[in-house]
Symmetry: C2
């Protein structure tokens, strides 16, 4: 089953980007000319304004047919056509356009908490304001009396500045040593096993970490990486860029989107038969887009496969605090337990665990920060990883400071603790409530089935669409779920991502929605649209 | 001449990374085990602690021989062995070690202004403190009376927040539209020609921009990119990672490190003869490591070649405000002038110009920000570039805000102008004075020749070493300039980068030093060391 499986999104051999980066639809009349921005004063007319697309192809060095084919092949639905169209609608509304059938755009396509309702945590941002402008520290009394800064905020900023010297200076390429010490302590407290700051690499978000690691792991066009389906499309996109092979393994929707050992083993077998050397297995836990949370036993089974097949485990654990049911178990902790329980058997397992400041109750994705921890890597390989990250110099230093506050938040008894705890719990409870409101709405929708919310920031319901809707999609040369999501956006302003952007089992349709947007009014928009859609195509 | 030319650094087929990422020298006794960090409490002993390097090679998935060969082949001297050793010395001194023959380490190896003396510009950091903690804006009076914030600081922060919503939210993948508008206005004011915000891509520093662009341009192992020699090694490293070809062209040291059209043409000819398709020409102006500043006529000559040979021009203009003599001319301005003067001839030229917040009088490299502007690109190619950057989501949003303040600083008459101007000029004058102090010192050193400082943050003197020194280097299997720089570091704590890290004409030796470190005491350390070195090996 698994190897013959094709990502639905690859069914259209050459996906058309119908809109420009700026969101303006490509029309023949404007071909060859990029529109000017509304806010810009045109001081001269572009020299190339009167040229056509055909001219470009004949005379430019670069055209669509001769650029890096790996870049062209890469797909990334989260910011694709739908997102661009949604941004376009938002701009129309902002410009006062009243012709649209909705009065706001809901960006439920991307885990971008602070674009929606989520407020940043006060302690974090107070600290950052001080590391950005250390001159504020010269008047601590005014900070306290006029702005309510507590002493622990001031001390934290001083400590961070001592570590990084200035947030405007390059740090060590792996991240400032003192901040890596804090991350190591966090991991130790979380897992009960030691962590070594030398094995930590701070990153500009998990995405850049994934890119770094896959760059090292993939050694040619026959290198394969096991990727769960559905998946966050960063993985397939990065493998495309590296001209390496995605070896998909289907998650089991009936078992709450869990991993199925036999499916993974079959994928490995099929890949080997196709001449592919499988080098790594990606696990996203809690899952994106599924929200699934793996049990300790599920994790052991993946580690067993890695040990037996000599695979690097890439554990994408960026949603580790977004867990509604049970407790998060890290791959690192489970691996260390297994190494204690069965000395020898697991010694060679190579594990990399990724974390981020973008998700959880922190939601600071615009700052671009995170880290990965290497476990059991050959030191000579680790040096090559160091060299690779050093070419990019260092991750953003402000984001490193923010990471430090995330892994080392105010503790009970410290003056900033109470507010921190209140804000943190408020965000956590809000996410839970919204997830369930959305889940309840899906229960009311014909042909829609959804797993109970488990974690992450997403729900990923199955939708069963009438045959007429599927035909209408085919007439537009679109996947049926993409067709559905486009109609949803056009009718309601709610932007979600079709399942085909993440991969899904053949002959199934899904969409991914975040549960970050405030209120329930937008949920009702979906319910109403869905009923009308089903009626129209029945 | 040019094509046979080999980078001196590639003479050693397999460069040895003698030190670990953490700066600890690899010794057989510690092989297979990464040392624990001093600041860490070890709560358990690493499971793999007693294993040897040989064990790793036999049983791990990843080893030095089977990782991505392109990663292994990449070289990046700026943060290589010397930098790691310097960081090690710094730590030794910080730990109270008094055995070293110097009492401070001078990091003259990297353009990292705020690691050394340079203070951030107050206006920038005041604005950033407010966008990081918008709650501060609720008490503008206290900001003014207790901290000296002016009204324009407050208004700028409000404008930026209106543009980005929150610095913790993802922005548009090309960067926030409002900030791109400001960058476009800056380019228009600089050049007198229009700029379109849709053609601007904000980046996490110029390095990530270069990586994006080369990723698109390089379409296979036969794709070649003209790179000046000496060059900033980001270019050769990125081409290595992409398994594409560096086509070197030597700069003319005798002509103030200018470009020589005939040399470039010969390089193209040689590359074509070797079956390479040359697709782009990189120009670093002002130069790194040379500091050279190109005339309008030199720029025209490069554009002429690009027009005739259908090459993309990659103009790395990150040092555009670090110009001591004459006036900076941008490639964009020169191209637009030529397009006006000779309609038709230059219409198809594809130009990308890169800029950064890391250099100039801003020096905010730790924030990781910058932009590139595309000129004359096929819109369909531009869409692919958008897709590629969207996989990385967005550049750090705080850095986008900082970029906005850089391109739109306080103007005469605004309350923050006076201090801004004073700080800006102070940094500019300081750089000029230090450059000349260093230049004067080089005049006093036997066998050292240096071009008069023109710009950027570097001097790149030629050194002529005695035969005995070259023999001693060979005995250590090192390039002679690397040997010299290592001895310099060991003796003085001054860390510079050997010319072989940038490439240099065969049978010449250089080193690159920044002129950022304060004072002149460290310059005298170099003078004294040099005299003793020459004496020893005479």
């Amino acid at each position: 089953m698994s190897w013959q499986f094709k990502l639905a999104s690859s069914a259209r051999a050459s996906p058309r980007w119908l809109t420009r980066p700026n969101g303006v639809l490509l029309r023949p009349a404007s071909a060859g000319r990029l529109p000017s921005a509304p806010a810009m004063t045109q001081t001269s007319v572009s020299v190339t304004a009167k040229r056509t697309l055909a001219d470009y192809h004949s005379s430019k060095c670069l055209n669509l047919d001769n650029i890096n084919p790996s870049v062209r092949a890469a797909k990334y639905a989260v910011r694709g056509e739908l997102a661009v169209k949604a941004e376009n609608y938002r701009q129309q509304l902002a410009d006062g356009d009243q012709s649209l059938p909705f009065d706001s755009v809901i960006f439920a396509n991307i885990g971008n908490p602070q674009q929606l309702d989520q407020k940043p945590i006060t302690f974090f941002r107070q600290v950052l304001s001080l590391v950005e402008n250390p001159l504020l520290l010269e008047n601590p009394e005014a900070l306290k009396t006029s702005f309510g800064y507590h002493q622990d905020v001031i001390e934290r900023a001083q400590t961070l500045l001592a570590n990084v010297q200035s947030v405007g200076a390059y740090s060590h390429s792996q991240g400032a040593p003192g901040i890596r010490n804090s991350v190591a302590k966090f991991i130790e407290e979380r897992d009960g096993f030691s962590a070594n700051p030398q094995d930590l690499f701070l990153t500009g978000g998990a995405s850049s970490g994934v890119s770094t690691l896959l760059n090292v792991i993939c050694n040619g066009p026959k290198a394969g990486v096991l990727v769960p389906i559905p998946q966050y499309p960063l993985y397939t996109a990065t493998l495309s860029l590296l001209n390496a092979q995605c070896v998909p393994y289907l998650l089991n929707e009936q078992e709450a989107w869990g991993t199925d050992v036999n499916v993974i083993l079959q994928s490995i077998k099929d890949a080997k038969a196709a001449g592919i050397e499988v080098r790594a297995v990606v696990v996203i836990n809690p899952g994106n887009p599924t929200g699934a949370s793996l049990s300790a036993d599920d994790i052991k089974k993946v580690i067993d496969i890695a040990a037996e097949e000599s695979l690097v485990v890439m554990a994408d654990e960026v949603y580790q605090t977004n867990v509604f049911a049970g407790e998060f178990v890290s791959f690192k902790k489970r691996l260390r337990q297994l190494q204690q329980e069965q000395p020898g058997k697991y010694d060679d397992v190579e594990l990399v665990s990724l974390h981020s400041i973008s998700k959880g109750m922190v939601g600071e994705c615009g700052h671009r920060g995170g880290y990965f921890e290497l476990v059991g890597f050959d030191p000579l390989v680790q040096e090559q990883i160091y060299k690779l990250v050093s070419i990019g110099l260092c991750p953003p230093v402000v984001a490193q400071c923010l990471l430090e506050t995330m892994v080392n938040p105010p503790r009970p008894g410290q003056p900033s603790y109470e507010l921190y705890q209140k804000e943190y719990n408020g965000i956590r409870d809000g996410l839970y409530q919204r997830a369930h409101a959305l889940y309840d709405a899906f229960q009311r929708m014909e042909g829609v089935e959804c797993q109970e919310p488990q974690g992450a920031m997403y729900l990923f319901p199955t939708i069963k669409l009438p045959a007429k809707a599927i035909e209408a999609a085919q007439a537009e040369k679109r996947a049926a779920d993409e067709f559905y999501c486009l109609r949803l956006l056009d009718a309601t302003g709610v932007c979600v991502v079709p399942g085909s952007g993440f991969g899904q089992k053949e002959n199934t349709l899904h969409f991914r929605t975040t549960f970050l947007a405030p209120g329930t009014e937008w949920v009702e928009r979906i319910v109403k649209f869905h009923a009308e859609f089903m009626e129209k195509y029945r």
